[in-house]
Point group: C2
Chain length 411, copies 2
């Protein structure tokens, strides 16, 4: 007998027919003798509808009330799945975040889980009862208010619950059958990975792969939760195993590069001929930070006049105009000659823990991209990944080039 958490996202519970299908997946695991906690998202589209109502009621809505409104989506699904399970003879009950309780910070709209009391769930297991848990939500203990964990937060609910109840495994069911070397819609030769290390998955999620919420991978890594990404659209009687996210020592055949990620949510800003004196970087980036604008890649090079410096950096597209206006307002103070911006850029990243022990991995990419005539606007590297910023029109070509270069194409 094992104890496991199964998580189903919005498309997997989009209507009663699909909820019945989810119930069949749960039934399979219960009949195999497992103790099962299921974590569910809202039916697809529901959260967007609720968010739109809040924004319609007030552009500057109170996030505590937003949380009360949007948490209702998962509440509905949890009750419906419990009913669907009972209908096929599986004992089940729904649990809201506050009933367990799942205690969180009071950062409404993007709260962090602080602790989970697994004792009630365990008592349910002893009664042969599947726990159907509303994902995405929790409660702030001191205020007694409902909280939510941010978009994709049900992934984090699932992994954190798996840690709290010492589950042997956490299965994240989604609309794809695992983690791929890159997006198969762009690279038909993309391969499903059998295993990927926590650190690699964390970088992939951070760098644009949408398969898991970043925070959920952090929690899985810290608590060593064996996590599978797999498909809810497989035949419930005979599903595929999906991709295991695990410690790197559990991966036998280590690749240098495991996957290629890309993010279209990038905009580039370049300040030309900034006076090159101490404190100038702080003068630029502190105000951006204070305006909650998240700066990613930063490059500083000497200007063509050899006396001043050019500073290039990227921000999320949603913050592009705001960042530009903020810097223009400080033109005199910062003393730059011109401000240039580009919205049609993309960040391509290669991720692999093998990079730690292999030199020159990124250099091979620069050469390959140059041979295809792709200009690199900016580069950042870290221990297990590197990223290049390029013109958006080269996205597919660049991803395919790197995918082939690092031997990721399927046979």
């Amino acid at each position: 007998m094992a104890r496991l958490v199964m998580k189903f996202g919005g498309t997997s519970v989009a209507n009663i027919e699909r909820i019945r299908n989810v119930a069949q997946h749960v039934k399979r695991e219960v009949e195999a003798g497992n103790e099962v906690a299921v974590v569910v998202s809202a039916m697809s589209g529901k959260t967007n509808e609720l968010v739109a109502w809040c924004a319609d009621a007030s552009k500057l809505y109170d996030k505590r009330e937003y949380d009360a409104v949007v948490a209702s989506g998962e509440q509905v699904t949890s009750g419906l799945l419990a009913i669907a399970l009972q209908e096929i003879g599986i004992g089940a009950r729904s649990w809201q975040g506050w009933q367990i309780p799942i205690l969180t910070s009071d950062a409404h709209g993007s709260a962090r889980i602080e602790s989970i009391d697994g004792s009630g769930l365990a008592e349910g297991f002893a009664r042969k009862e599947v726990a159907v848990i509303a994902g995405f939500q929790g409660i702030h203990e001191a205020s007694g208010r409902l909280t939510t964990l941010g978009r994709g937060g049900s992934d984090t609910s699932a992994v954190a619950i798996a840690a709290a109840i010492k589950a042997d495994r956490c299965d994240i069911y989604t609309d794809v059958d695992g983690v791929y070397t890159t997006d198969p819609r762009i690279v038909p030769k993309a391969r499903r990975l059998d295993r990927v290390a926590f650190e690699e998955m964390l970088e992939m999620a951070s760098l644009g792969a949408k398969v898991l919420q970043v925070r959920s991978v952090e929690v899985a890594m810290v608590h060593k939760v064996k996590t599978f990404v797999r498909s809810s659209f497989d035949d419930p009687a005979n599903p595929m195993p999906g991709t295991l996210i695990c410690d790197e020592e559990d991966i036998v055949e280590q690749q240098v590069v495991t996957g290629i990620a890309f993010s279209r949510d990038e905009a580039q800003l370049t300040l030309r001929r900034v006076s090159d004196k101490p404190g100038v970087a702080a003068a630029i980036f502190v105000p951006l930070a204070e305006a909650n604008i998240n700066v990613d890649m930063i490059i500083q090079v000497v200007s063509d006049d050899a006396k001043t410096t050019d500073i290039t950096f990227t921000v999320p597209q949603a913050d592009f105009e705001r960042a530009r206006a903020l810097l223009e307002a400080k033109r005199d103070e910062l003393g730059f000659a011109s401000l240039q911006g580009a919205n049609d850029v993309v960040k391509i990243s290669a991720i692999g823990i093998g990079m730690r022990s292999h030199a020159g991995v990124a250099a091979r990419a620069f050469k390959a991209l140059a041979e295809k005539g792709i200009n690199i606007r900016a580069i950042t590297t870290s221990e297990i990944k590197f990223s290049v910023l390029i013109d958006a029109e080269y996205t597919e070509l660049a991803v395919r080039t790197l995918h082939t270069l690092y031997g990721l194409d399927k046979a």
Copy 2:
């Protein structure tokens, strides 16, 4: 300064535009210096959608899970109204039933309120905060499960909260502007009542008038909550007062008959030539009660053979076929000659506390109906009302006849 409860039903909060209109009603009362608790229903249509999903997931759904699912509708509205109030500068926060808490029995789907702790709401008033409360829902303390109060339960939430916080007044906002002498869609001469006694309102609600949940009137009567029924579609800046439901001693001009109610949800069954021996009534009605079939009017008369008896009674239309089948299965045991049924019947009732002190009130009706050629199938009377069962095709004629007879037509 007064303390008051304002309740808004589903059509009053059907979309964000209408929720904004509700916020204006609340603003008026806050700016008049009142402490305000608002009780809201789910947006109209939402509860039906949620109930349909439960029924789709399982015909015999677990009522505990049904409660978790349907309680979400009021949760959404409470958060949205709090946001809409803040948007126009009124301090507000949402309260779910379990946050207050509103403790109920564990009769899931039709739970009864057992106690309400008003202290948290009062602390909110001290902070100049409107309490926006999700109606219809509560929590069963021992199990920690969500409960709901049955259709129309938000009325009961409002009146019970008014009692708990010792409100000076409870305003039930709805899509009509008060309680009428009868349904104005059938009798254009129906008059809005300025005042109606608790006992009369209780009978009207029980006998088919849909303006308030029966249970809410009971609670208002027991706790002497001054309750107004009024329209949410009035101009928020200049609303009409509606109808006050109050003690009978607060009604100066007492009418003999205050209102005419009618219920189309009736079906009649007649057992012919039942052997007239002790225990035969029990043999018929105990099995019906055990099958949860609610029997209303009962008439027993000697059959035309002068040796046996005919027994006629009514049941809700939804139970007609079930009751008929149950009795047919006991034909030998009960020993009746035939079983006749009619589904096209209606119950017309006249209600008025003045009946207590006036004799012959019902007799005048029997005569007036006979003059119009309307056959009376059954009669029941009590201290402050009488009801007649007639063929459905005479509904409008009978209601108008009684409305005129008792002087209820407007000038």
